[in-house]
Symmetry: D2
Subunit: 243 residues, 4 copies
């Protein structure tokens, strides 16, 4: 069985500076995410964080990555433009990208979307109910019709993204908002999935449904044979000439 | 100015048999809808109902219709298959179709969608908040970010429709549900818009935002020069032969 | 490994009545298609034809089918409406459906699309070049940028289908036409793929690229756990009530 | 009647430095495009070029523009990033953008798409046949099923753009290629249309069909009341709070 090579990238700042966050994610949000994926026999999982050299995202690391998961919040602008460029190029070559929660404002996501990616938000520990609107979708595989998170940060529309190529989830919030919570995008040879839940002060990434969604998304985002950067790009033009 | 020829079709059954409905729509739901459209200088509005010969949808009437609005609920199966066939053909030729509320189960909509069009529902007079998720869309023109209906029937996902070609509105319901409330579909040369609100016991069709949406949808659904059935169908094949 | 249960349905009329067809497909078009799929370790393959009782598409057969492949041409109207209804229902429940070539006019495809599915055509043995326009798509996996069929029937636009949910291939024809040749549709819980090539007088279904596309499409169309008809339909409404 | 304020931006370099181009477009490509639009009673047309201060794209000019048309080729990198940023922001606020031919590589288009926007090309004066695949689309209004350009530069797939939100045209080229030639994208509040034809050495922008497409696209891309940047962005969050 071919194994999917997953890299979980975490900003890993608030977990070390804010007690409310450290209490929930003592080893970092990235580790809470990686923990579940490591149990999957078809996945090989590594992690990387902002403070590593090149943020842990060197050419050689990305070359060995099929799917990159990204969580960031307070330090988006600390991520080097050079590394962002590299990540985006690699996505266009075929690496999968899963963007979580506040990473809607991360540099790679904004650059790949081309829009502001702004949204409404409110921290009030509200109930969130996540509805499946694409039951045929691999990312919804094994889920019930809806599932709930008892306490989450609210994200509300208008979410300034391109119309998703596939819309998998819509969230309902106690305070009166809705949000397109699970959005698929195809860019170049790569597949991108944005998934809303995951505020740093709530134990969202321990929730079994949230974990199942991320696990499904990894399988969906992985190219069958790994990223193949050459497709459609390097075949000599003369080969395509007139017959 | 070219005027859009609108035909508002109402089942007109419950308004004459149920007091709770008659109180809200004494002249029929179709008349409440038509009333607002008649004030638009760029529209010419007629109505038709189930009990008329051919349900008021003869060949000649449809031939003079740019946009058909459809409201039905308890008598879907009373609509003749022959007339349904005619309506669907006319939509494919370019007539616009606006399908309201419980008409998700009408024969023309189901046939044009190809799916069951089933959904969840609950009559509990709940608050509905309708969010714009496509602010660039002509049907959202002039609307605020969201608007509310104090009391409405709940419709919930999964709504078994094809993925909409454009998703304009998402509804939030007090009881915990969301719904894709404004959905555009392109079929043949025709444009179809499904709009959720409109339960017969609530004064929804007097709401200024609901009226504005329907008004916008009429303009969006109207082909610029009226339905042109011949396009792409009758040009002799020999004209397309080898050069 | 879970195996995909494939059923290849062939009209199997011209192969027995027209010599030009029998010469190319002596055992039937369905057998030429099945032959390749039988070599896949992750597939179990059966066939069925028009002349069998219930056209070989009984309730119990469909219940054991993950993906149905459909080829038909001269006998669309011989297929019983009752069986068509059953097939369509099963697709909405989650069975994959692959529709080949002249089956654009088959009853199940037209009913699931809701449009006329008409197109232009010309039998002149023209060269067809099929271009990949979604290199990220599982159905394009392992294919070159384009591949050619030396002789095929021409199909030309306007192809009267709903806008595809995903467009994978576009065909170029020697005589001056283009065609959306590989189209994905999501309907209910089911996945539908229309693939253009396959005229009965050409050896198209022996072409390794055509075979690879059909093989890929089977994997794409198969629901991970097989069709699960209950999803989103039978959960008691009371469970979804107000909290 | 509300008039659409159109700004036609031309690089205007080759028209002054290459005789083969100057012969076809002595006053510049932008003027050939503007000439036709100036005849439309519902449009007010201005032009701007690279060599003007701020490339003729100052804040105040953009503020008074409903739809910007962009043609560029050899000097994409001469366009200031500051101006590009301003143009993109204005598109997200609701200004329409029409991107022509070699401007697939322009900075604003690439930034708004988020992909490389690369494609195949060949200069061989080939015949191009442009097919309508969305006859319901306002941009196809009044066009025949297909139209031809006797000599054009070939553009071929894979065209590395996001899947278009609407695909209006597909081109056929004599040498064996196809191309998604008319692509609509919704970004923020803005509407973007990419249209392929328009090589600088061919009289493409005098062709009546090409002119009709651009004219239609202007009407389609214009927001009904002009760009309204505040929508969805400045409404105070407190207004959206818990009830």
């Amino acid at each position: 069985m071919r194994q999917v090579r997953v890299l979980v990238w975490g900003e890993f700042v608030q977990e070390r500076t804010e007690e409310a966050v450290a209490r929930v994610y003592p080893r970092g949000i990235h580790e809470a995410i990686a923990e579940h994926l490591r149990k999957q026999p078809d996945m090989v999982v590594r992690t990387a964080t902002l403070d590593e050299p090149e943020h842990g995202l060197s050419e050689s690391v990305l070359k060995d990555t099929d799917v990159l998961i990204w969580w960031g919040h307070v330090a988006h602008d600390k991520v080097s433009d050079h590394v962002v460029e590299r990540v985006c190029r690699r996505v266009l070559e075929g690496m999968g990208l899963i963007v979580l929660h506040s990473a809607h404002y991360s540099k790679p996501f904004r650059r790949l979307m081309g829009t502001s990616c702004s949204l409404k938000w409110r921290e009030a520990g509200e109930r969130e109910r996540i509805w499946v609107v694409a039951p045929w979708h691999p990312i919804a595989e094994g889920l019930p019709e809806h599932f709930e998170l008892e306490h989450e940060e609210m994200y509300g529309e208008y979410f300034d993204i391109p119309p998703p190529d596939e819309l998998v989830f819509i969230s309902w919030f106690e305070g009166g908002e809705v949000f397109r919570s699970g959005c698929c995008f195809y860019r170049g040879r790569g597949r991108i999935f944005y998934f809303r839940p995951g505020h740093e002060t709530y134990p969202t990434y321990y929730n079994p449904y949230v974990r199942k969604v991320i696990e499904n998304a990894v399988r969906w985002a992985a190219a069958p044979r790994g990223p193949e950067p050459r497709y459609g790009m390097v075949e000599p033009l003369e080969k395509l000439g007139k017959r």
